[in-house]
Amino acid sequence: MMSVISDVSFTRFGKRPEGLLDLVAESALPIARRYGRDIDFIVFSNSYSGEFSDMSGVNNLISTRLSMDDVPSMRVDNTSGSGGSAVMVADSLIRSGNASNVLVIGAEKMTGYPTKKSTRIIASLLHPEERSAGISLPSLAAFMTRSYLKEFDAPRESVARVAVKNHHNGSLNPYAHFQSEVTLEEVMASRVIADPLRIFEFCPVSDGAVSMLMTSDENRDSFGNDHVEILGVGYSSGTSSLSYRDSLTTIGSVRRSSEMAFRRSKLTPNYMDVVELHDMAAVLEIIESEDAGFFKKGHGWEAVMNGETEIGGPRPINTSGGLNSKGHPIGASGVAQAGEIYLQITGKAEKRQIKDAHLGFSLSMAGFGNNATAIVYGGAS
């Protein structure tokens, strides 16, 4: 048996006045209205409802909000990688026969606090012995950038070009936080956050939600005509101690999860028409594009410089705008990646549509590589 995604519904990402449950309802209602009575499980991807919204047990608050009080539900909390994990859990529930039709919701409310406080909340995923030095997640990306540029003699501009590309893609995505393009000059003149990385090279702090209906290939005909198949899922962890990692220019969990997803789908990176990567910082898109197998180690930056990863290029990456421009409401991001692949493969991606998109790949990463979930998708055609 195989699981399929049969419907997707986004809220606009950004600084939203609504609370967490309102955002969840906005994204879930279009699906619940159509298929509410058929849904027999709700998987809620979310990490920080306690910290930002003072709520726990939030999956049950959601099911009652949607008047699906008796539908079993669970929260999947895996920091930035929660969304990929939620899709993996839904796929497992369906393939094991434990559920038939799963509502997968990813959401986060994050903009209520000053940046200094939200930076502290996100940094709580680090070990105390490392965190106490004053590390933030953006500072790790700065270390990574310095190591990458040095080790592979890559130009500084190549990292900034990822941000230029993703802001362009985001300007074509009505759900993206940022709706405008930036030039290379604007990126390089923007405020330094963690030297050498500048503000346009990081994802913004965003609120947002996205919902999907997942079912089995056997049940799919009850849920419309547009389905995207989950062909293979891979997952892996790497050490959560940053000081224990040998290299800052490769991420073991990304390599292993991607390799597993391709092996299970009996496909290779070359076949992928559309790819979503976890670009919390622009440099991560380059490093993950290598670790997932799309480019040789140390050559991802050349692909960016040559325009290969743009919409219209041979290897489009982050057509949605990526976390960099679409925004990164933590629990929503991995589900939104699957949603973007769904829109692309079903031909509903409008201005950013890739021609003849049949196969896709997403990489959802937790805590700077603590773990990763890679998913290979396919569509009937």
Partner: protein
């Protein structure tokens, strides 16, 4: 700041573990980290609460173990730095 060292196989690491990642034994000693060589230093302008608004994060090699410290000044790669804890955590400065 202390480094953890396995009493059985000598493996050293920064983050507390209950089991040695190399030999599986559970007996450790704590070795004070007093100085190291600067591997990289990054200026951080957006910092987490309750830390100051601006500082350098320094990655040090302490006897083959990597450790992170906070510094008020930029430290040159390859130079020697002394480590000292303040009320927030480990800091370092030019030796």
């Amino acid at each position: 700041m202390n480094i953890n060292r396995c009493r059985n196989c000598g493996t050293k690491f920064l983050v507390a573990r209950s089991v040695c990642p190399k030999c599986g034994k559970e007996d450790f000693e704590h070795v004070p980290a007093r100085s190291g060589i600067v591997l990289e230093s990054v200026e951080l302008i957006a910092t987490p609460d309750p830390y100051p608004d601006r500082y350098y994060l320094v990655l040090l090699d302490v006897d083959d173990v990597k450790v992170f410290c906070r510094s008020q000044e930029k430290l040159r790669e390859g130079s020697q730095a002394d480590i000292q804890d303040d009320e927030l955590g480990p800091t370092c400065r030019k030796a």
